[in-house]
């Protein structure tokens, strides 16, 4: 009695997140999509900072992304550099101004809300959500995006880590960035 079903809760959560993001965006004087782009570019690793990745991550076409990026670049929030190896691709990075714009919008309602839960329950919630997301991912078996360290290909070492997919060495900072090849463990 008096309990909401899991789908209902997920729905409510989703709406709450949207609400927060909209609030944060208008508070910083930008559009939700633009804020989402800045947020992604802050966290994306060096194999995931191309326009194409933004399109996949946000579910937009590359044409739309290209246009939005033009605006972000005009305002000096995003820098584009041609890639050294493949001259078709463009590397995107946040400028200082972009980073401060993003931080101004950074929202902590969820952090505060989460602190109302005791630490052990937070931990349990994290674990359960991880498994739920992982199941969803398998159900949809679509490519997803996530933080490198939480990927099933992530190999933790003592001093340095490694990507089991590319074999590449990963610094501590690398491990905290978003990767397009991510697969939740």
């Amino acid at each position: 009695m008096n309990t909401a079903s899991l789908p209902q809760l997920l729905n409510a959560l989703s709406r709450a997140m949207l609400f927060e993001q909209r609030q944060a965006a208008v508070g910083a004087g930008l559009l939700p999509v633009q804020l989402a782009m800045l947020g992604y570019l802050r966290d994306a690793n060096r194999y995931s900072n191309m326009p194409q990745c933004l399109a996949e991550y946000l579910g937009l076409t590359k044409g739309t992304v290209s246009q939005s990026l033009k605006i972000l670049e005009e305002r000096g929030w995003v820098l584009r550099q041609p890639d050294g190896a493949d001259r078709r691709v463009v590397r995107l990075t946040l400028s200082e101004a972009g980073l401060t714009a993003l931080e101004r919008a950074d929202d902590d309602a969820w952090r505060i809300a989460a602190q109302h839960l005791p630490a052990n329950e937070r931990e349990r919630l994290r674990s359960l959500l991880t498994r739920l997301l992982s199941s969803w991912q398998q159900e949809r078996n679509g490519k997803t995006f996530g933080v490198c360290r939480t990927c099933r290909h992530f190999r933790q070492g003592e001093s340095s880590h490694q990507c089991g997919l590319t074999g590449e060495a990963l610094s501590e900072a690398d491990s905290e960035q978003i990767c397009r090849e991510h697969n939740l463990a």
Copy 2:
């Protein structure tokens, strides 16, 4: 090690939900907003089925809602009736066609994903999410929407229930509908 933080998970969950909703909408030949409107109207109780509620629920202006409703009505998915008591307000209901359009789009990826969790863990997840959402709600102390039965004003009786806010009697069916005055227990 190898754990995603709670904010990261919430973010991923939110994107996954958006993805699902978009998929469901285009699959049914309608726009995400339209699908969201139909879904809300199916579940809204008799005090929450006005255009204004839709605007609040979806975070749109009433102008936008009015325009989208016009389309939904033209297609025969939504019915509008003037309210008996207050002649300013319009009561919205789903037509049969609207209901079938909605059911065609009804998506079960989450249901399936949730079934990968054992029942006791689903229950635990539900409980934790409820508390997290409740905390968020208090943090933002904004009006929210939720199913009547899960409201702190809901008074459960043996044969019939009651709303502690309006004092009104609530049928079993009433208790399962979305109310604009909802406050998570």
